[in-house]
């Protein structure tokens, strides 16, 4: 399960990501998201947690 965080924090994060995806543009959005995931993986430094996030994100695409 992905942890629940305060909705205001999640909302701000979501907006930040939305604007970043838009500024990357459709050509580069995949590259941007890949870079972002790699940077977050480094911050996280925990591939078990990363694995649960990956599995959760892959569900119901």
């Amino acid at each position: 399960m992905i942890p629940q965080i305060p909705v205001t924090t999640l909302e701000a994060a979501s907006d930040l990501l939305a604007e970043a995806i838009d500024s990357a543009g459709p050509e580069k959005e995949a590259l941007f998201l890949a870079k972002l995931a790699l940077a977050l993986a480094a911050h996280l430094d925990d591939n078990a947690v990363l694995g649960t996030a990956v599995a959760a994100a892959l569900a119901d695409l």
């Binding site: 995949a30 590259l31 890949a34 870079k35 995931a37 790699l38 940077a39 480094a42």
Partner: protein
């Protein structure tokens, strides 16, 4: 059938191909002698196996389908371990003389240098981490030695077309310019390269994976004012998403290696005008658009494939016949050279009645394990150099993109080079408890390091082709007398080398001794006075004891030869 090898010298801008004469062997005049070993293929692996066998006093016949050496520069980088093996075969000099030593490389992304790597090199190490020399020279130097060696019968223009074996011998059908004959041998070695005919004749399948990307290798002659190093360009303007490698070889020959766009065929890629344009673009990217001529170009793809077993009855597979490895990290010839180093003494010991049948099986066990590890490692580099899917490509591009502004992904650009394998799990090793009692030094399975000694010689200079017991201490060290007696009585030839404590007088009873000035070697081996290392003919440790017992030595030697004492 009559086999007609091409007798016109291959074209080359830098190499004068010598055409070797076919000489009709005894078999064509009715001879039917059974030879000790028949080696199929005179590439680097087959030739070095023959030279290794000769060092152990074993005669071999080498069958080479061609009458000249390799077409193209092919395997062009020898790593330090390969040079050490060539040194121990007594053939390293021309390699060191001709080859270009190097130790590092630089990687570029979007015109910026984003990664720099230097391969480890310690003060006093005899050979550089890498030496560039074209495969033509590798084969020339080794075949020159083979031609001079009375224990090697090198037969040019002899193509093996059939193989059969029983409990007694192997029989090979050989086609030559003067007709066919049958060659009988106690053992055979398949060193017939990546498209191995013997592999096909036995119906053997390789395991592993082939990667989809295709690469061009183009060798050009040009005087570039650049040092010997590995240059890697990711995603250059002229080849978006792909990469280009540039290597310097002797004789002003430079190798350019780049990945093709996925939808391009090898024929299209080798089309002269397109190739010319791409070479021009590469030279401009390197910063030196100077005049050049093309020597050789080919297309290849990367695989990481191995036979699951290398020994099939009386036949042993070595080199590319046994495995196909990606050339990133220079695995091709270097892995074959280590195969031959492992096989030669074992085959010789079996033929001389010193080793049990398990010894040949251990060649297979040890090398298959080593090659599986190489496939695993090389697979990682290959996935970075030639991403096999969109996902891998995206993550590779993400890592590259970060290299321009952040440091955390840079180590993903590390190119893993071939390194000597530790035969850690080998059945030839003894006494794990005694091994574990050491706090440093080469563990059992590991190769003995080629440490420089105070007199300017190196440790491996003192190790011949037999088993060695390396002892530490002096003439008075307790317990050494009994150990020496056990060594004398050993059925398996064993030389005892004393690394004598500094300042002590020469001791008696040893086969060789050198003063260990400043305890340099003892410290590196974690040795106390009385410590002993048992070293195999290929220079790998198979047992070590802080306090050895004669019975343990005897037992360990038997285990290392898979012999029942």
């Amino acid at each position: 059938m009559v086999h007609c090898p091409d007798t016109s010298p291959r074209p080359s801008t830098f190499y004068d191909y010598r055409v070797h004469p076919f000489r009709a062997p005894d078999e064509l005049r009715g001879g039917a002698e059974r030879h000790s070993v028949a080696i199929v293929g005179a590439g680097p692996t087959g030739l070095l196996t023959a030279i290794g066998l000769a060092q152990h006093g074993v005669h071999s016949v080498v069958l080479a389908q061609d009458v000249q050496v390799s077409h193209g520069s092919r395997a062009a980088v020898l790593v330090r371990r390969s040079m050490e093996i060539l040194q121990r075969r007594g053939v390293v000099d021309p390699f060191a003389g001709k080859g270009l030593p190097w130790s590092g490389g630089r990687s570029f992304y979007r015109g910026q240098e984003v990664y720099r790597m230097t391969m480890p090199h310690e003060e006093g190490q005899r050979h550089p981490p890498a030496t560039n020399v074209q495969q033509q020279y590798i084969e020339e130097f080794l075949s020159d030695v083979a031609e001079r060696e009375p224990l090697i019968d090198l037969r040019w223009g002899s193509r093996v077309t059939s193989f059969e074996q029983d409990g007694e011998e192997a029989r090979l059908g050989v086609d030559t310019p003067e007709g066919a004959y049958m060659l009988r041998a106690s053992y055979a070695v398949a060193a017939d390269g990546g498209r191995s005919d013997l592999r096909r004749m036995l119906g053997l399948r390789m395991e592993g994976r082939a990667y989809s990307g295709r690469f061009v290798i183009a060798d050009i002659r040009i005087d570039l004012p650049l040092p010997t190093e590995r240059l890697c360009y990711f995603d250059p303007d002229w080849n978006p998403g792909n990469n280009v490698l540039v290597h310097r070889m002797p004789d002003s020959l430079w190798r350019i290696d780049f990945r093709l766009p996925d939808d391009e065929t090898p024929e299209q890629a080798l089309e002269p005008e397109l190739l010319r344009q791409r070479i021009e673009l590469t030279l401009r990217m390197v910063g030196h658009p100077l005049p050049w001529t093309l020597d050789w170009a080919t297309v290849y793809s990367a695989s990481a494939l191995t036979l699951p077993r290398y020994v099939h009855g009386r036949l042993a597979f070595v080199g590319d016949a046994a495995h196909l490895l990606p050339i990133f990290g220079v695995r091709g010839a270097n892995t074959g050279i280590q195969d031959s180093d492992n096989l030669a003494w074992k085959l010789a010991y079996v033929l001389r009645g010193l080793g049990g049948p398990g010894l040949l099986e251990s060649y297979s066990d040890e090398r298959v394990e080593a090659v599986r590890e190489i496939c695993e490692e090389a697979g990682k580099s290959t996935r970075f150099m030639t991403p096999p899917s969109r996902g891998y490509r995206l993550m590779r591009d993400a890592a590259l993109s970060f290299t321009l502004s952040e440091a955390f992904t840079k180590d993903l650009l590390h190119w893993r080079t071939a390194r000597p394998h530790d035969y850690r799990t080998s059945l030839l090793n003894s006494d794990p408890a005694a091994d574990a009692a050491f706090t440093s030094g080469p563990r059992f399975g590991a190769p003995v390091p080629d440490i420089r000694l105070a007199d300017g010689s190196h440790l491996l200079d003192h190790l011949g082709p037999d088993f060695h017991l390396i002892c530490f201490g002096d003439g008075d060290t307790q317990g050494m007398g009994d150990l020496l007696k056990a060594a004398r009585r050993s059925r398996i030839p064993l030389r005892v080398l004393l690394l004598r404590r500094e300042g002590t007088p020469p001791a008696t009873g040893y086969d060789a001794q050198v003063e260990d000035t400043g305890s340099n070697v003892a410290d590196r081996f974690g040795a106390l006075p009385g410590t002993a290392y048992l070293v195999r003919p290929d220079g790998h440790v198979c047992a070590r004891w802080l306090r050895p017992e004669p019975a343990a030595l005897k037992q360990a030697l038997a285990v290392a030869c898979a012999a029942q004492e």
